[in-house]
């Protein structure tokens, strides 16, 4: 017998009678007041920045401000692409990446980004600084609403990003910029 069969047989011999699945959503009501304030407060508390904008101009200003004139900007939102390459030389020098984000969650400051938005899976992680641009209509109260609206398998890969990369593995001292981006800024249009 293969291990697959052995394992499945052991489970069917050993498991209990079926325990019904209760509706997980019934007890969990959403409060959709002040989503923007909540999202801003939570994301700021975990090291991210938030700015509400009327046009795309402040985004460009910000990108040039932090990249300076010598560093590379990849602005997927405005049509720059790095393709599917995972070549180190091609991606390692991306200083700041700007990507359109999807649904954003007020309760935890997380923004959904899938493969169609980032184009290259490596991009939001290898860049030194990350910028996400979302529409204010993308804000939802919590994760239940978020998964209600997102088709997580529309592309091969998707990720909730909540703040810059961080670690506290040395004596519980928080350090921003572990392996991934050293900063995250979310523009809400």
């Amino acid at each position: 017998m293969s291990s697959r069969e052995t394992i499945l047989k052991a489970i069917s011999n050993n498991r209990s009678a079926l325990i019904p699945l209760e509706n997980a959503d019934i007890a969990i009501a959403s409060n959709s007041d002040n989503l923007l304030e909540k999202f801003t407060a939570v994301l700021t508390s975990i090291g991210g920045q938030v700015e509400v904008i009327e046009s795309i101009d402040p985004v460009n200003d910000y990108l040039y401000k932090i990249a300076g004139k010598d560093n590379r900007i990849v602005n997927v939102f405005l049509g720059d692409v790095v393709g599917n390459t995972t070549e180190a030389g091609e991606l390692e020098n991306v200083f700041v990446a700007c990507i359109a984000g999807g649904i954003a969650v007020a309760e935890n400051g997380a923004v959904w980004v899938d493969e169609s938005m980032m184009v290259n899976r490596m991009l939001p992680f290898i860049c030194q600084h990350l910028v996400l641009v979302i529409k204010d209509g993308n804000l939802v109260a919590n994760m239940h609403e978020a998964y209600g609206k997102i088709d997580t398998v529309a592309t091969g890969y998707g990720v909730f990003i909540a703040g810059p990369s961080k670690t506290a593995d040395i004596e519980q001292s928080l350090v921003i910029g572990a392996h991934g981006p050293r900063s995250l800024k979310v523009f809400i249009m």
Binding site: A24, N108, M143, V159, G163
Partner: protein, 456 residues
């Protein structure tokens, strides 16, 4: 009895009193952050109920969900493997490495690969796996095991890390700044990421409905490794399955808040299909889990989502350190999972508890941890794993407690001894309890006498 035992191993840990206090207070601080995060969610208790129900349900239908998951994942171009035990798990991963002629392997945090001792297995075959979680890289340099499933290097001080990095990464001697040390690790590991050919990750949740897996990190190390490499191998215990994507909402609201008090981890990555031109493998591992499933007293330990809230709250864990548990998963949850894997080696662990029940109160999936600790003690004593001294002392206590006159006599004799001959008890040789503790002042009378005198 096991060759290493928790009490004996803790003696080493608590020799350094300031360090023990630091460990204790730091983990208690993490516990307090967990409380603060939980209290901000009005639905917290309903979430715990939901999470518990989803896991109970899934375990009662596990074979159907696993086959559904396998079918969906296969449709998504993912290769699914089944491993009956640790050995088969390691062999599967090695065969993928060998067949693809891989030299450079990175790994993000996976307690399952620790449980299966994957790193030493691969090292024997010439493959040097680079652990990419900062805490795991630190302990890997030091040739130690992680002492905590979420905070692998919590037993170390920044001076230790600095010395280790000086030795392995050439950082400045005596520079203890965590920012500086993290930056050094960042530069070292980014170089490993971009050149890696195969990336191993754990799995936080696997979704039967879609065949996708979700991996949670703060550092972004799982994603950097996977996206840079040509092959992704994800290893998971069969209990990591949940029925549908909607259920992720429940678990992702609970996981990071329970673990570190964060609202969510920085990255919650959903891997559905391999990238263009790449391979993705998932290894489904039993290694004793189906045996645990058969036992009504212990089966719901399989609901665990590895948040480590029970570690951070446990008075014994905080004061004895993770290495004292001598298993991949330490703490209260490790103490109820490990005897199932090896009775003989881990019989001491269910006794490393005060049975205060704090673990059960903070568990996001409502595992009755302290009840299971108590049940394991009974099972282990019955099966003869308790050791002679524990058996004798229990028999003596049963005898004394069943004879009220003898109990009263011994009580007054004990109080007299504590007052007149304190050196008899304040002596580590005769009284192991006295080690690292002070004896309380002896009361003049028993509660029974006090009650008799004061009864109005």
């Amino acid at each position: 009895m096991s060759t290493i035992n928790h009490a004996k191993a803790s003696e080493k840990f608590i020799q350094d009193e300031p360090r023990t206090d630091w460990h204790d207070e730091t983990l208690w601080f993490v516990r307090q952050k967990r409380d603060k995060a939980a209290h901000q969610i009005p639905d917290w208790e309903s979430l715990r109920d939901s999470a518990s129900n989803i896991k109970d349900h899934t375990l009662s239908n596990l074979d159907a969900y696993l086959t559904q998951f396998e079918k969906k994942a296969t449709q998504n171009n993912i290769k699914v493997h089944w491993a009956a035990d640790a050995k088969e798990h390691n062999e599967i991963i090695y065969s993928i490495i060998r067949d693809n002629n891989i030299k450079k392997v990175v790994k993000s945090k996976s307690m399952l690969t620790e449980e299966c001792h994957l790193n030493p297995y691969l090292l024997e075959r010439g493959i040097d796996v680079v652990d990419t979680d900062l805490g795991e890289r630190i302990v890997q340099f030091r040739e130690e095991a992680p002492s905590h499933i979420v905070l692998p290097a919590i037993h170390l001080k920044k001076e230790d890390v600095s010395n280790t990095f000086h030795q392995h990464l050439g950082t400045e001697k005596g520079n203890y700044d965590p920012q500086y040390l993290t930056e050094a690790a960042r530069n070292h590991l980014r170089e490993k990421f971009v050149h890696s050919q195969l990336a191993i990750t754990g799995v936080n949740f696997a979704i039967a409905e879609t065949g996708a897996i979700v991996v949670c990190t703060n550092e972004g190390n799982a994603d950097l490794g996977v996206h840079a490499a040509d092959i992704h191998v994800a290893c998971m215990g069969i209990e990591k399955i949940i029925p549908s994507t909607q259920h992720l909402a429940v678990f992702l609201r609970l996981l990071a808040r329970s673990a570190t008090g964060q609202p969510i981890t920085t990255y919650s990555s959903h891997f559905n299909k391999p990238g263009t031109g790449k391979q993705m493998h998932i290894v489904l591992v039993d290694n004793g889990r189906t045996k645990q499933l058969a036992n009504p007293d212990f089966k719901n330990s399989l609901k665990c989502i590895r948040c480590a809230a029970c570690f951070n709250t446990c008075p014994v864990y905080r004061r004895s350190g993770g290495h004292s548990y001598h298993t991949a998963v330490a703490g209260p949850i490790g103490a109820i999972l490990s005897p199932n894997l090896d009775r003989e080696a881990n019989a001491d662990l269910p006794f490393a508890s005060t049975l205060c029940g704090s673990c059960t109160n903070v568990c996001p999936v409502k595992i009755d941890i302290h009840q299971q600790l108590w049940k394991w003690r009974q099972t282990l004593m019955k099966e003869g794993y308790g050791g002679a001294s524990k058996k004798l002392s229990m028999q003596a206590m049963a005898m004394v407690l069943s004879k009220p006159a003898l109990y009263r006599f011994l009580g007054s004799a004990g109080r007299l001894t504590m007052r007149l001959f304190p050196w008899l008890l304040n002596n580590k040789k005769f009284n192991p309890w006295y080690k690292q503790r002070d004896m309380p002042a002896a009361p003049k009378q028993s509660f029974r006498d006090w009650y008799k005198n004061n009864k109005a």
